[in-house]
């Protein structure tokens, strides 16, 4: 029921979208299709071009080249107020001189909608803040402002709702609650949500599809589970959660499962999860997938021996170990504290294993630490 000047609807398509500021290429030849009705997250560290992409879609930034479509309608150079797109701004950008009611009614009034009152009420009901209609924005808490910003955008029933780090200013607890609420509202209204964030947990909680962006390009796109379990680049492996990446070389590529040699140990690597172009490979395994036991214990699956615990921190639900391997690398292991055995201590020799289906392989010519410094959890 969009009755904005452009009533386009459909998938959002970015075609060869590029934006450069002087010599700096913020968004680099981006091709992307975001299906109508989906909750899509653009995830990446600051400066990766995600916000610039969003601003180009909103019409607040003009692309250097390329084009933007909603359905079959091109909006590349359309003015922001002629696009069926609304934005929830970072820090909300609520109009300080207008009441909450007038803030929400702003878009409706500009478009000359008839039943402003009913629609504003409905939007305020959706975010459960009808009782604050007469207040001014600075009388509201951060969480309330956030919801008003959302109501102010949603009330226009845009084809596309853009959220720019919408929860960045909220504290952890509120952020969690809002994540669930946002997801619920998205399902309720059925509008396409494009969500920009640097917070991988936020992206994974809410989005159907995540595109991980780095240096103006999309590194990988897929469902949260897909990205986490089967990353294709070291950047994704490190930015989304944490990974152990060990240098190795592929010695067998037989059908379903290949075999990789890492420092003399042979590990199984499923072919579907191997993204190396040649024999040089980074073998990846997530820390929580690894089982750890005193050296000499019986184990199956992929096994690594010869490690010595160099650091152990007990954090309640799990114990996090740093294990120094004979080749000098430190591997991370998260062990659930669920089997009653006392945690291992620093200096203990250990044996580690994991189900070989969890192993993934990445091209060996990339920096194994890419993305880890950008990951807020990696410390």
């Amino acid at each position: 029921m969009v009755d904005a000047s452009t009533s386009a609807h459909g998938d959002l398509t970015l075609k060869n979208l590029t934006k450069s500021f002087g010599d700096f290429v913020a968004v680099d030849d981006l091709d992307l299709v975001i299906p109508e009705g989906s909750f899509f997250a653009l995830l990446g560290p600051s400066g990766c071009g995600k916000t610039t992409t969003l601003r180009m879609v909103a019409g607040l930034e003009e692309p250097s080249s390329g084009s933007i479509f909603i359905g079959n309608t091109e909006i590349t150079y359309e003015k922001p107020y002629k696009r069926p797109v609304n934005t929830v701004f970072q820090n909300y950008a609520l109009f300080p001189h207008l009441s909450i009611y007038e803030n929400v009614a702003f878009g409706l009034r500009r478009r000359g909608v008839k039943d402003v009152d009913a629609q504003v009420q409905k939007a305020l009901e959706l975010v459960e803040l009808t009782h604050l209609a007469t207040r001014k924005p600075n009388q509201l808490s951060g969480g309330q402002q956030q919801r008003i910003a959302l109501a102010r955008a949603i009330v226009n029933r845009p084809a596309l709702l853009l959220l720019d780090e919408p929860l960045g200013a909220l504290d952890l607890k509120l952020r969690r609650a809002m994540q669930i609420e946002l997801k619920w509202i998205q399902t309720e209204v059925g509008i396409t949500f494009v969500h920009v964030t640097h917070d991988q947990e936020e992206a994974m909680t809410m989005a159907d599809t995540i595109a991980v962006m780095n240096e103006g390009k999309i590194e990988q796109m897929g469902s949260p589970a897909d990205l986490y379990d089967n990353p294709r680049t070291a950047f994704v492996a490190n930015f989304l959660g944490q990974s152990n990446l060990i240098k190795g070389s592929i010695i067998e590529r037989a059908g379903e499962a290949g075999v990789v040699d890492v420092f003399g140990t042979k590990l199984a690597l499923p072919a579907a999860r191997n993204h190396a172009h040649d024999s040089s490979v980074l073998v990846g395994i997530r820390p929580e997938k690894i089982r750890i036991a005193p050296a000499g214990s019986a184990m199956n699956g992929n096994i690594l021996e010869g490690g010595v615990i160099s650091d152990a921190s007990y954090i309640g639900v799990s114990t996090q170990y740093q294990v120094e391997m004979p080749w000098g690398q430190e591997l991370m292991v998260f062990e659930q504290n669920d089997d009653g055995t006392p945690p291992l201590a620093k200096g203990d020799p250990v044996i580690m294993s994991w189900e070989s289906i969890f192993t993934f392989g990445l091209a060996g010519d990339q920096d194994a630490t890419a993305g880890s410094e950008a990951n807020p959890d990696s410390e």
């Binding site: 398509t13 003009e62 390329g66 084009s67 079959n72 091109e74 150079y77 003015k79």
Partner: protein
Amino acid sequence: MSTALLHATAHEKKPLITKKKLLPYWLLAPGIIWLVIFFLVPIYQLISTSTQTQGFGIGTYVQTYRFSNFIDAITSSKAQLIRSFEYAFLATVFALIISYPLAYAVAFKSGRWKNTLLVLIVAPFFCSFLLRTVAWEQILGEQGLVIKFLRFVHIIGAQGHLTATPFAVVAGLTYNFLPFMTLPLYASLERIDIRMMEASGDLYANALTTFRKVTIPLSMPGVVAGTLLTFIPAAGDYINAELLGNPGTKMIGNVIEARYLEIVDYPGAAALSLILMVTILILVMAYVKRAGTEELV
């Protein structure tokens, strides 16, 4: 959706920002025209007048490019010129000394009284500048209580005065331009994040060191603006010298005023005005450069 369609339409529309290029000039035009006609042109005429000489009859002048007008002006009014800058400098220093703690107190120690105190700083502006100066003249003058008290306790002899002294002129200048100093100081102090001062304390700086190494550098833009706004009008002022001084405290403003309105020596007055203006501009430029402030306004 076909890719052919995408390519067909992608480059048809031109970017839209360009057509607004003239707008800033339209916005600026009326103000600039006003400033050019009523500020720059007069200054140009001032420059031209400064090298003219007396023609036939009072008030008529002919252009003779007589640059020695400047030398004449300087030699005849050297004392007043130097005195003006001395007084203006002293007044600026005193105003800074008085204003800084005042602005600091309002910015950091006033709690919920902040806005009220701020209004009180501006408030003297609203009572005519001349009335206030006349008030000082009367408070400190021969009929006032202050001088009677000071004579009574023998701080000042029976022949001593407070008014008609260099002290009174500098005090008047200090007083009159005080809000011009306090406001920019307050504005820049208020912007300082109080956590920076706490961080400094946390890093083993005592209160004095914190003030010296953190507060003062961060408030420098306010100090620069405040000292300029005080020094410039103080150097050109003649009201304070007129009302609170004596013939020995005349400033350059008094000389220019007299040459224009009483003696009707336009070239001499113009030459003096130019000397005053250029000296101030040079001082300001050197000062601003040293203080490292980029945008002037």
